[in-house]
């Protein structure tokens, strides 16, 4: 897996993976797509306009996921 160049986004991706989301690698402007076990997904930009804000939105997406995880 490639490493994202932004520290906040790396942290948000790590949070998602710890919550048992998967990361599919993308190309072009899409760094990758995070998916929960059942119905949530969020695309991660390679170079968002504001990496800190983008990281925050990814984190919120993971935290508000309503679906069951088998943790």
């Amino acid at each position: 897996m490639r490493r994202h160049s932004d520290k906040d986004i790396r942290k948000a991706v790590k949070l998602a993976l710890e919550a048992k989301w998967t990361l599919e690698e993308g190309k072009g402007h899409r760094f990758g797509t995070l998916r929960c076990s059942d119905g949530c997904e969020v695309a991660v930009w390679s170079t968002p306009r504001n990496p800190t804000t983008h990281a925050k939105r990814i984190r919120e997406t993971v935290l508000r996921c309503p679906h069951e995880t088998d943790s």
Binding site: G26, K27, G28, H29, R30, T33, G39, C40, E41, V42, A43, W45, T47, P48, R49, N50, T53, H54, R57, I58, T61
Partner: protein, 191 residues
């Protein structure tokens, strides 16, 4: 007049009719300047969550709508959030007051009275209010502890009503459309 200052406005556009989350879709959105949005899907509904700098909420919203529509042919907006239907908890959150103080204002046990009535009773414990009604009331009586924007609330509610109308009228038989026309004839949209 002082030069208009830009602020960052946060809102979400739910869309259909195009694959927003594909590599091509995201590249087109990026090129259209939507790199200030985070795109995702929840239970099959695709959305873009924008953090957009602009001189006003309506400027931010309209530029985002136009950018998404121009990036992806066939794309339709279906809903704008923050939603215009709100629970007591959401009213408390948006006005930075406690739930208890909203409850007292709504029950007219405190404050000037005339709090807008709920528009839906989802179940015994859940009532829903129409946010524009509440936003106007909070502003008129200076009861919000943070700026609420009644004009933005009206815009979002009217847009969502228009998107809903578009969806519903697609399914209606032609004969029923006359009733819709009649209802709209009392609005400023009438031609």
């Amino acid at each position: 007049m002082s030069p208009a200052t830009k602020k960052t406005y946060t809102f979400t556009l739910f869309v259909q009719g195009a694959d927003v989350l594909s590599d091509d879709g995201l590249d087109a959105l990026f090129e259209a300047g939507c790199d200030d949005a985070t795109f995702g899907a929840r239970d099959g509904a695709q959305y873009g969550e924008f953090d957009r700098e602009a001189i006003s909420f309506s400027a931010a919203l309209s530029s985002a709508i136009h950018a998404m529509a121009s990036a992806l042919p066939g794309l339709e907006i279906v809903r704008v959030e923050p939603d215009d239907l709100v629970s007591m908890a959401t009213i408390a959150e948006r006005s930075r007051r406690s739930r208890e103080s909203i409850r007292l204002l709504a029950a007219e046990q405190r404050g000037p009275g005339g709090f807008p009535p709920p528009i839906a009773y989802v179940d015994q414990k859940t009532r829903l209010w129409h946010w524009p009604d509440v936003a106007h009331w909070l502003t008129a009586h200076d009861k919000a502890k943070v700026d609420v924007d009644p004009e933005a609330a009206d815009l979002v509610a009217a847009l969502n009503a228009a998107y809903d109308l578009r969806e519903h009228t697609r399914r209606l038989p032609k004969a029923a459309l006359a009733l819709i026309d009649e209802a709209l004839s009392a609005t400023r949209l009438a031609r």
